[in-house]
């Protein structure tokens, strides 16, 4: 299966829907082990990204992903703005001139995204950050050969839930030390909604 420009546009739209629907929940998660702005930040950023994309007609997936990246970068703020911005920028670079996007291209993009996130955030797996979701998804994508809606959503959910038992060593949650154990990482939850949106697009496509 391949994803065309319309699918990528739909992905961003659906991601926005998921984030908006779970804005309060994300904020609650961030109140537990952060400063309580994550839902607000992500909702503001994705709203703007979706609006920006709705304004235009795209012929290249890379452009959609780049506009998303730049909008997140300039509208989200906080730790998550530059991080999600980086992830989508890397996806965009990988997609450049590759329309429609093959499974392999998408997987390459994911790998670049994970590298970018780790570099920006100076974080690695197991530190209870969104890296945990993106990295597990990359591993999963690498071991498969095609998009499977149901397992994408399942895997992302599991990766998010796995952060619950971790102790944070990066970001604000790290100030809480042991007390950070038992809460889901907010950035991982947003990441889950993004992959859940992807799963939806894949399903619709199938």
């Amino acid at each position: 299966m391949e994803l065309d420009v319309q699918d990528i546009v739909a992905w961003i739209e659906k991601s926005n829907e998921n984030i908006q629907a779970n804005k309060e929940y994300l904020t609650t998660l961030d109140q537990e082990i952060g400063d309580g702005d994550h839902g607000i930040n992500m909702a503001r950023g994705f709203q703007e990204a979706a609006a920006k994309i709705a304004e235009q007609t795209y012929t290249s997936s890379a452009d959609v992903l780049k506009d998303t990246a730049m909008t997140l970068m300039s509208k989200v703020g906080g730790a998550s703005g530059p991080l999600f911005g980086t992830a989508f920028l890397k996806l965009s670079t990988a997609a450049n001139g590759m329309d429609p996007i093959s499974y392999e291209t998408f997987t390459n993009g994911l790998e670049e995204a994970v590298n970018g996130l780790k570099q920006r955030g100076k974080a690695t797996e197991g530190e209870k950050t969104l890296v945990d979701v993106w990295s597990q998804m990359m591993n999963y994508f690498k071991h498969e050969t095609d998009f499977h809606a149901e397992t994408i959503a399942e895997k992302a959910k599991k990766a998010m839930e796995d952060t619950k038992d971790m102790m944070a060593t990066k970001g604000r949650a790290a100030y809480f030390k042991e007390r950070s154990v038992g809460s889901i990482d907010p950035g991982s939850a947003s990441s889950f909604y993004i992959f859940q949106a992807l799963a939806d697009i894949v399903e619709r496509r199938a």
Binding site: D35, G36, D37, P82, G121, K170
Partner: protein, 326 residues
């Protein structure tokens, strides 16, 4: 949530325009941004100083704009680091060719966004450098310590050095020396409410307090039974003193987090001063007031800055910032 606001999502925009309207002789707002810049910036041959961070810490950061202190302040959303594009606008607005120092508080978000802005500036050939403030001893490891009220002293020292005509390297060195010699510790009696969130970040009982609080409405390192001003002053001051050798001369800041009456801050100060006197530490200057706040949080922090001759002299230089006149 009870606040004197219009739209919870517009508080930063509304605040920034209200601020620009209040101080037309001192400040200007960069068009289409929430960046506040010194009216006459850039100043020829002077290193520019850009600070900023989430909003909700007022008078930080725009209150520190003025001759002898910083040149621009970037206001993010409430408790949310500002974005690279806005920081970049601030850098461009204050660069006179002598370079720009970024004063960053040590939060992932602030570091990431300011770093990206620095990369953008670099690409345009603007000389930028940075210091990262990490004065909060509530966090054990130095590398992950937050920047809190000590940031005000960093603004002061860097600003004075820049005003004296220091090069970017020298201004950075003064700022860095301040960072190395400043430590803070805070506590809270009550949480605060981010307007867009609509509910307080945590709950505290009538007899509880949070020790080791940051400035973003997050809960602290330890929850304790509420006690007297003397005990609170002692707990905060001891923690700061145990972290660093402050023998010699110090500047003291007793900072209110937003809704603590000045009366209470002075009551805390009374004990802070007596602890320092007992230890034979000389107090060169004391600052009591709301310098780095968390919206309407009740609580305070104690900051000590060890002073050598250079820092004393920089502290004594005049400042015309709205929130820090000397």
């Amino acid at each position: 949530m009870k606040k004197i606001i219009n739209d919870p999502n517009q508080v930063v925009q509304d605040m920034v325009s209200g601020m620009a309207a209040a101080h037309p002789d001192e400040l200007k707002q960069l068009f289409g941004t929430t960046v506040m810049v010194k009216k006459n910036a850039p100043i020829a041959n002077k290193v520019g100083i850009v600070s900023g961070g989430g909003s909700g810490h007022e008078p930080a950061h725009a209150g520190y704009i003025g001759k002898g202190m910083i040149d621009a302040a970037v206001a993010g959303e409430v408790f949310t680091s500002p974005t690279p594009d806005q920081i970049f606008e601030a850098i461009k607005a204050v660069d006179s060719g002598a370079g720009v120092l970024l004063v960053i508080k040590n939060y992932t978000g602030d570091v990431l966004n300011f770093d990206m802005a620095a990369e953008l500036a670099d690409a345009e050939g603007i000389a930028v450098d940075k210091v990262v403030v990490n004065d909060d001893v509530a966090v054990d490891e130095r590398v992950s310590r937050r920047g809190i009220a000590g940031t005000v002293f960093v603004h002061k020292m860097a600003g004075a050095k820049a005003e004296q005509g220091g090069s970017l390297e020298e201004v950075k060195a003064a700022a860095e020396k301040t960072v190395q010699n400043v430590r803070s510790m805070g506590m809270a009696l009550s949480p605060c409410t981010v307007p867009a969130a609509g509910k307080p970040s945590f709950q505290l009982d009538e007899n509880e307090m949070e020790i080791g609080i940051g400035i973003h409405g997050e809960s602290g390192i330890e929850r304790k039974v509420m006690t007297t001003a003397v005990d609170i002053a002692k707990e905060l001051t001891d923690k700061v003193l145990n972290d660093f050798d402050f023998s010699g001369n110090v500047a003291v800041m007793v900072n209110g987090l937003g809704s603590t009456p000045e009366m209470e801050l002075y009551i805390v100060n009374q004990k802070v001063q007596s602890i320092l006197a007992e230890k034979g530490i000389t107090i060169y200057k004391t600052f009591v007031g709301d310098y780095m706040t968390s919206l309407e949080m009740a609580g305070c922090s104690v900051t000590l800055l060890k002073l050598d001759d250079e820092l004393k002299q920089l502290l004594d230089e005049p400042s015309q910032a709205l929130a820090f006149r000397s």
